[in-house]
């Protein structure tokens, strides 16, 4: 009987733990926003919420947001899924290298992506100037447009689609394909009738991720939209924040409620679509599917190379070049080349070094904490009925979906005063950024874990229960090893996204607690785009090194943990 109590306690603790985390990280900030948005709703016509919704600019920004996020998602899905299919399922050479290069755009912070593309195409383009084909000064910048925003959103978020789809594809057992071939299906029919329908849940979740990310992206529309007067919801929020209107916080909260509604609808649509199309797959231990590309291999490889040149190499080159010139707009040649910017960042400015340390410790600690909590949460959620599951997943989704700036506002509202009971003041310290990251990226880490959990054969869990494994033993001995690839993938995603994060930290940083994103943004805003470029080149090198280091450990990690090693 005592063991019965102990066991019930374990379950109760797990549930309590889940509810507490969800409440603290997801519900509390959202409530804070809701309260702020509805603070004077009794005023009716004159309330903040109603007046925000009456402003034409709100609807204009909403339309722009839907357009750029939608088009961006389309581009991300096209790019991400073609890379996922080709790199996961065919006999292309050096797949690891391709994946490695393809994952890089996601790690480059959005505002730097935008900067590099501006430099690539503008009159001040260091590449075009070096080549002597730069457009005349004063000619329009093609990137300052809705399409420019959508294109960069697509490139930025294509790896999200890639990762989600790949997780699904490596679970496809080869005998499904063989069975179809035996039935007489040609390759194209196999793709159309077997692979794509079975990969559907991964594609849907990747699409939803990309759309939600595009909707909340701040860096790209801020860099490309604001100069062109093209406003989307996150930049509208930013402008309102900068404007310091009479009821600024209330208006910002109202706008974020609007965004939350769109995200909620997206999540519902995703769950509805994947519920209709989810099949139990066997897990990543089967024989891998490998299509032979035959004579098309070289062509495929060249196509991928051209795409990568366009989306990665050229902007990176522009970035590197603009970090090596004395001032923006100068052509690069043997006379002008200088490493002064790097010397400045690495040896003169204490703040940049500090930003490196801050960002890396913030990113790695949030990744580790989220990896630790995501499995128990995902397991707990999986035992709930569909309605509850949908509700909790949607709640967890909210902080990631609302623009980082809005989350930051919610956190400021929450922590402007010391935490009750313990009387600790975290506003103005690095801990508030850490908390912001935990709120923001819980769903990023949870998604792959939940997906992998839902694909496990139920009898693995039941067999452990029947031989007497308690909930914590079940998690440690059975579920953790079986979902480790997904957990690592989730943690990695969190790290990669948060190390360059700008929007949350933009409002929460304080002197001494700068993040890399803030540092780059500040340098760029103050006109030091050469220093900003140098800093981001260093970030890219560091993250790439880190990815390479992880690859070295791959042999000791469970198969499938590292996305770029298939």
């Amino acid at each position: 009987m005592r063991s019965l109590l102990k066991n019930v306690n374990q379950k109760a603790w797990l549930t309590f733990f889940l509810l507490l985390i969800v409440f603290l990280l997801s519900v509390l900030p959202s409530i804070q926003l809701l309260v702020k948005a509805l603070q004077n709703i009794t005023l009716g016509e004159n309330s903040t919420l109603v007046s925000v919704f009456k402003e034409p600019i709100t609807w204009l920004a909403l339309g722009h947001s839907l357009y750029t996020a939608g088009l961006g998602t389309l581009i991300a899905v096209l790019l991400g899924s073609s890379f996922a299919f080709v790199l996961t399922l065919t006999n292309i050479r050096l797949p690891a290298l391709w994946v490695f290069c393809f994952m890089l755009p996601m790690m480059i912070p959005p505002q730097i992506t935008a900067l590099s593309w501006l430099q690539l195409f503008g009159p001040a383009s260091p590449i075009l100037n070096t080549l002597g084909i730069a457009p005349a000064l004063g000619s329009p910048q093609p990137m300052y447009s809705a399409f420019g925003i959508a294109l960069l959103l697509g490139i930025q978020h294509a790896p999200l689609v890639y990762l989600a789809l790949r997780a699904q594809l490596i679970c496809l057992p080869n005998h499904y394909i063989e069975a179809a071939r035996v039935c007489g299906a040609q390759s194209t029919q196999v793709w159309r009738d077997i692979i794509i329908p079975l990969a559907w849940p991964g594609l849907i979740s990747g699409t939803a991720l990309a759309f939600v990310a595009g909707l909340g992206n701040f860096g790209i529309p801020a860099m490309l939209g604001i100069p062109a007067g093209y406003v989307v919801l996150p930049t509208l929020v930013y402008q309102k924040m900068a404007g310091f209107g009479s009821d600024m916080l209330g208006e910002v909260a109202s706008l974020s409620i609007l965004i939350a509604l769109i995200v909620f609808a997206t999540v519902l649509a995703q769950q509805w679509l994947s519920k209709r199309a989810s099949y139990p797959l066997a897990g990543p231990e089967q024989q891998k599917i490998l299509f032979s590309l035959g004579k098309w291999r070289l062509l495929t490889e060249s196509t991928l190379a051209i795409i990568l040149c366009f989306i990665l190499i050229a902007p990176l080159l522009a970035l590197i070049i603009s970090s090596l010139v004395p001032a923006l707009g100068m052509a690069l040649n043997t006379e002008t080349v200088t490493t002064a910017a790097y010397v400045e960042i690495l040896f003169r400015q204490e703040s940049t070094l500090r930003a490196f340390i801050n960002s890396f410790s913030l990113a790695s600690s949030s990744a580790i904490v989220l990896m630790l909590v995501s499995l128990p949460i995902a397991y707990q959620i999986s035992s709930y009925s569909l309605q509850w599951r949908t509700l909790i997943v949607s709640i967890i989704e909210i902080p990631f979906a609302i623009p980082g700036i809005v989350l930051a506002v919610a956190l400021i509202l929450l922590f402007a005063k010391p935490i009750p009971l313990v009387n600790i003041h975290i506003y103005g310290s690095i801990w508030i950024i850490f908390l912001g990251y935990l709120c923001c990226f819980l769903s990023v880490c949870l998604k792959p874990v939940s997906a992998s959990l839902s694909q496990l054969d139920k009898s693995f869990v039941e067999a452990a229960k029947i031989v007497g494994a308690k909930p914590l033993q079940l998690l440690r001995h059975i579920l953790w090893p079986l979902t480790a690839p997904a957990i690592f993938a989730g943690g990695l995603l969190v790290f990669l996204i948060s190390v360059n994060e700008l929007t949350v930290s933009a409002l929460l940083w304080s002197a001494g607690n700068e993040t890399l994103g803030v540092m780059m943004f500040n340098l760029d805003e103050s006109g030091d785009s050469v220093l900003a470029s140098a800093l981001s080149v260093l970030v890219v090198i560091l993250v790439a090194t880190l990815m390479a280091l992880l690859s070295l450990f791959a042999a000791k990690l469970p198969k499938g943990v590292i996305p770029w090693l298939t």
């Binding site: 063991s3 019965l4 066991n7 019930v8 379950k11 897990g283 231990e285 054969d457 009898s459 693995f460 039941e462 067999a463 452990a464 229960k465 029947i466 031989v467 007497g468 494994a469 308690k470 033993q473 079940l474 001995h477 059975i478 090893p481 079986l482 469970p558």
Partner: protein, 344 residues
């Protein structure tokens, strides 16, 4: 002792009653087969015994201790049962040895005793050389033997088996049946075996419980179930044979062979009761019995299976040593028939 008592157990999923008021007593050490077609609720019943499903109503007791009753639900990990799954459920990240040792690991048994017990379990299923292998490198039969060893290692008092042979080929099934039988004899565990295969049920179980649409149709030994099926559905489900209509007879009447020939030659319009006739009690001869016409003749290896039509249009099955031409006229003599429960 592991006396298992199931009282008025029901399970309703959203719109469908899967298990409908089932009561069953399983004696300690008994081998019970839950036999039924798919959708009969047998797996749900087993999963409620394991604790994976919560019954909608009813109670389960083990040796007079409640496993499920008002306000009490003992979770599966505390029931100390063993279970063998159709999909084997061998954890892919553990070797054969680790899979078998896992119940000991969670029970806190370590060191020499753990090693010894794993070794004994492996010996019992004759898999000692494969101890270090991964489950994925084993054949289906070997996997199921590992699953059996995993179940054996803690010597549970109750073992649940969920269609354990459904994924194996016929030849392996006979060997595995032997493994289950010796397992049962050695451990004396109470075993509940879910299957849709009557051959398995009859060759293994002391008691067969036949389920249909969430209810128990009949409970009894293999002989009782086969020899005296209660109703037409059971008669059709177990073994082969035919249900034929006969005129009114009372339940007390003894159906002698002479009487049967008379009853079976009656006009259909006068018939209101049913009898069940196994093919082996129908003898084809030229000189006695009812006139019949051969409809089909199928070679079954050891004999021919013959379908015949009686003069009143009813079909009957028989066995014969030689093939008969389709359409040939002959006679059949019926030795035995079982009167089925009145359908009304």
């Amino acid at each position: 002792m592991a006396h298992l008592s199931i009282r008025n157990l029901s399970k309703t999923f959203v719109d469908q009653q899967v298990v409908n008021d089932i009561s069953l007593e399983v004696k300690a050490g008994e081998f019970v087969a839950l036999l039924g077609p798919s959708g009969s609720g047998k797996s749900t019943l087993l999963r409620m015994l394991a604790g994976f499903e919560n019954p909608t109503s009813g109670r389960i007791y083990l040796a007079d201790q409640p496993l499920h009753a008002e306000g009490i639900h003992v979770p599966p990990e505390l029931r100390k049962f063993g279970m063998v799954f159709q999909s084997y459920a061998l954890w892919p990240h553990m070797s054969v040895e680790e899979n078998i040792g896992y119940p000991l690991r969670v029970a806190g048994i370590k060191g020499d005793e753990k090693r010894l017990r794993i070794k004994r379990a492996l010996e019992t299923v004759q898999l000692e050389p494969l101890a270090k292998r991964d489950p994925s490198s084993l054949s289906g039969g070997q996997r199921q033997r590992v699953a059996l060893a995993r179940c054996l290692v803690t010597e549970p008092q109750v073992v649940l088996l969920d269609e354990p042979l459904a994924n194996l080929d016929r030849h392996l099934r006979a060997t595995m049946e032997e493994h289950f039988r010796s397992f049962h004899q050695r451990t004396g565990a109470t075993m509940i075996y879910v299957t849709h295969d009557q051959g398995e049920a009859m060759s293994l179980a002391d008691t067969i419980v036949v389920l249909n649409q969430g209810k128990i149709e009949q409970t009894g030994s293999a002989q009782q179930i086969y020899g005296s099926p209660k109703n037409a559905w059971l008669a059709g489900f177990i073994g082969s044979g035919c249900v034929l209509k006969v005129p009114v007879v009372s339940d007390q009447d003894v159906l002698t062979a002479e009487k049967l020939q008379v009853l079976l030659s009656a006009k259909l319009s006068e018939c209101s009761r049913q009898v069940f006739i196994r093919p082996q009690f129908v003898v084809i001869s030229n000189d006695q019995g009812l006139e019949a016409c051969v409809c089909a003749c199928v070679y079954k290896g050891e004999r021919y299976e013959i379908s015949l039509k009686l003069l009143n249009g009813q079909k009957i099955q028989s066995y014969h040593q030689r093939p008969l031409n389709i359409g040939a006229k002959t006679r059949v003599f019926i030795h035995q028939a079982k009167l089925l429960e009145d359908a009304r």
